[in-house]
């Protein structure tokens, strides 16, 4: 498979790009929900629109009513989401959660709602400030016919708005993934506004009792599922980061062509030119890495996991460079809330953190490569 978008994928990109620029724009979405103090941090109407476009079903099999497409296509949509900083449940609900529920009986309960843009899902993995899925401590003890969950989770993106929460916890048999409904007894959810105006949640599980039915896949076999879910999310986040970085660079390059200082356009200054060109190079490489990771995921390749870590780390670093150069090259105006470039910096930080930052993934790569 050549490493560029085929015709169908290019069409999808054009559709997503036009739609997101029009309906998902910063002024319409991010600033609106932020400035009105929305408790969800995103618009449900847009989520419905994404469903109407079929986007929410990209990863759902045609037999289940979806488009039966792959991670490459999800990445295409996410890059446009990143470009516009569009707040949306797409990454968690339509990518991570769908990957989790795919092929399980739970799909019957939840896929129709995701396809319709009615259901929002959340993924409760992190228990401390950093992403450490290898060290999940939360307990799920046998209780009657089911399990009793106790422990805390944090950085549960859209957790405060979710109908469905996917929770990773340790049973006697090992790590297990559970599908839990939002109104489960004993589950306390605190919505937390984050730097990028999104809402993450802290969750306190106080002896939350669930049926054995809540188990996703086999009891104790959650690691393989969680890895798959996280890798889907990471590859998607990589594309979103590429979008964040690319829009940030585009905005900055535009500014370099408009702003005059010392009687010249600042874009004429060679030092800035070289830095912009280096940034371009980094972002192109990151985009290629994300696409490669998604192609490998779609092929079910054994090399996918390593490439996903490469993509998340590379996209994270490239996007971080883009927002840093963006704010610096904008000068004072870039520090003002009125101007959008700072919003990219905030989003970059949160996305970098999500599903493991570049340090985590470079370390993971090293471990996978046996050093």
């Amino acid at each position: 498979m050549p490493l560029y978008l085929n015709e169908d994928q290019s069409m999808l990109r054009d559709t997503a790009r036009d739609f997101m620029a029009a309906e998902g724009a910063i002024g319409t979405q991010l600033r609106h929900w932020r400035d009105t103090g929305c408790k969800d941090g995103f618009g449900h109407a847009l989520w419905k629109q994404l469903a109407e476009l079929g986007f929410t079903g990209i990863l759902i099999d045609e037999a289940d009513g979806g488009l039966g497409l792959g991670h490459v296509e999800a990445g295409i949509v996410l890059e446009e989401i990143g470009r516009n900083l569009t707040p949306s449940p797409f990454l968690i609900s339509a990518v991570a959660a769908v990957e989790a529920l795919k092929g399980t009986k739970h799909r019957e309960r939840w896929f129709p709602g995701i396809l319709a843009g009615d259901v929002v899902a959340a993924l409760a993995v992190d228990e401390g400030p950093k992403h450490r899925p290898e060290a999940i401590a939360m307990k799920a003890e046998r209780a009657g016919n089911g399990f009793r969950l106790s422990g805390r989770k944090q950085f549960v993106v859209q957790g405060a708005s979710a109908d469905l929460i996917l929770v990773a916890a340790q049973t006697e048999e090992g790590l297990t993934l559970f599908a839990i409904e939002k109104d489960a007894k004993g589950l306390e959810i605190e919505g937390v506004r984050l730097t990028d105006s999104s809402i993450g949640a802290r969750m306190d599980f106080r002896d939350v009792e669930v049926d054995a039915d809540a188990v996703i896949g086999e009891i104790g076999q959650g690691k393989a599922i969680l890895d798959r879910v996280l890798n889907a999310g990471r590859a998607g986040a990589a594309s979103e980061l590429v979008g964040v970085g690319s829009a940030s660079m585009a905005m900055t390059v535009d500014y370099l062509k408009q702003r005059k200082q010392f009687g010249r356009l600042i874009g004429e200054f060679q030092a800035l030119q070289h830095r912009a060109a280096h940034l371009y190079s980094e972002l192109e490489i990151a985009r290629a890495a994300a696409l490669k990771a998604q192609q490998l995921l779609d092929e079910g390749s054994a090399e996918a996991e390593a490439m996903v870590s490469v993509a998340k780390a590379k996209a994270g670093r490239a996007s971080q460079l883009a927002v840093q150069e963006g704010v610096q090259m904008h000068g004072g105006i870039g520090m003002t809330d009125e101007y959008d470039i700072g919003l990219y910096m905030k989003r970059d930080r949160a996305l970098n953190e999500l599903f493991g930052d570049d340090n985590y993934h470079a370390d993971k790569l090293a471990r996978m490569k046996g050093y």
Binding site: D126, G128, P129, K130, H131, Q154, F155, V192, R193, L194, T195, D196, S197, G200, K260, Q261, F262, G263, F269, A271, L272, Q324, V327, Q328, G331, G332, I333, G334, M335, T336, D337, E338, G342, L343, M345, K346, R349, A350, E353, D357, D358, N359, Y360, A362, D363
Partner: protein
């Protein structure tokens, strides 16, 4: 009495006076900038002690110990000033009065003001009665400050000012402004600028606070709409305001150049290790973050040595005149790097923006705020250009 004996006697006197007059509350470290006393026409004192402390110090002219007594200062020699600072530091005494009048306008008036201006403005500054703000930058005059366009017309018996300033710190709280205006639009850009003082209550002056990516800020946009200014409120010669500005900018850069230390001179890795935890071998549990922290600590401790060297060389008059640019560049870039690491170590905790748990997003807001360090007071690019030109003597720089 020998000099040394005199100085010792002076030290004893200061110590005794401070012991008797510095209220215990004023010996606690400031927790944030709201603990600072700014003075002004309508001063806000956090408590009685703060008021008392300012008034007592101002009463002896010790808010500006090295200014002449005639202008409200303490009239102290450099050696005596140093002793006073040492004794204040010894008991942890707070700065009694934060003031751009003291740190910026004062030195300019002392050097460029006429006698009448010195007598009129300096004592008020020393006593904290007038709070000043600085009007330099404009929307289209950032790094290229000298391209400023605020128009100041000679109307015979007064100046008429029209234009806009930006990044005016505390313009909404200040009583007077010292600002750069263009008095000659025909001359080369550096030769048509004057240094003007006026009351912020003058009709036609308005301000609007600037919201930053980090949240609220002391910065304002300041608008001048047919502002009438008396003729005697220009400092220095007409059209030679750039000299005054350069003198002040040099001053400012020196102050900013120490900021890489940010009060935190220890090891960042040491400070953060417990946040992140340790692996089985006792090392900080995130191996790549640990590597970055270790390299940062190398850079930070080396820069601390550089700061020490710079200050020592400044004192001895040995520092290259452009060395503050290098300190400003390196210090601010380091400070940005520090806060990137703090954010990486803080993970999702540090992303919280409003929670009490996060002190309303303290880590994130500080991190974002540091991004301005390499912009304000001359961008990193400007500093690098100065080093290239004035130290490395590169052509056409």
């Amino acid at each position: 009495m020998t000099d040394a004996a005199e100085l010792n006697a002076f030290r004893e006197e200061v110590r005794a006076w401070l012991g008797a007059n510095c209220p215990p509350e004023m010996r606690e470290p400031m927790r944030d900038e709201t603990d600072a006393c700014w003075g002004g026409r309508n001063p806000v004192f956090k408590n009685e002690a703060q008021k008392l402390w300012m008034e007592r110090m101002a009463g002896r002219g010790w808010t500006v110990p090295d200014w002449p007594k005639d202008y409200g200062g303490g009239g102290l020699s450099p050696a005596e000033t140093k002793i006073m600072k040492q004794e204040m530091a010894a008991i942890g005494a707070r700065n009694p009065l934060m003031s751009f009048g003291i740190s910026m306008l004062g030195p300019a008036l002392l050097k460029y003001g006429n006698e009448e201006q010195k007598k009129r403005f300096l004592p008020e500054i020393a006593r904290g009665e007038i709070r000043w703000c600085q009007g330099y930058s404009e929307p289209n005059a950032g790094s290229d400050l000298a391209s400023l366009q605020t128009k100041c017309e000679d109307k015979g018996d007064h100046w008429l000012v029209n234009g806009q300033k930006v990044w005016t710190s505390y313009a909404d709280k200040a009583d007077w402004i010292f600002c750069l205006v263009r008095t000659d639009f025909q001359a080369p850009k550096h030769k048509g600028i004057s240094f003007l003082l006026f009351d912020m209550k003058t009709p036609g002056v308005s301000t609007r606070p600037i919201l930053l990516i980090s949240g609220n800020s002391p910065f304002c946009e300041t608008f001048f709409d047919d502002v009438r200014v008396p003729k005697d409120q220009v400092v220095g010669e007409i059209n030679k305001g750039w000299d005054v500005a350069k003198y002040l900018l040099g001053h400012e850069r020196e102050m900013i150049s120490g900021m890489g230390l940010g009060g935190q001179t220890g090891s960042l890795g040491e400070a953060l290790v417990e946040t992140i935890g340790r692996d089985e071998s006792g090392r900080l549990a995130d191996p790549l973050l640990r590597a970055d922290l270790a390299r940062f600590d190398v850079d930070a401790l080396a820069f601390r040595a550089m700061s020490e060297r710079f200050i020592d060389e400044l004192k001895a008059g040995m520092a290259h005149p452009a060395q503050p640019s290098m300190m400003k560049y390196a210090g601010t870039e380091l400070n940005k790097a520090r806060h990137e690491l703090v954010m990486a170590a803080g993970g999702s905790n540090a992303l919280e923006w409003e929670s009490d748990r996060s002190k309303k997003g303290k880590a994130a807001r500080e991190w974002l705020r540091t991004k301005a360090n390499s912009i304000e007071g001359g961008t990193s690019e400007v500093q690098l250009g100065i080093i290239a030109k004035r130290i490395l003597d590169l052509p056409g720089a």
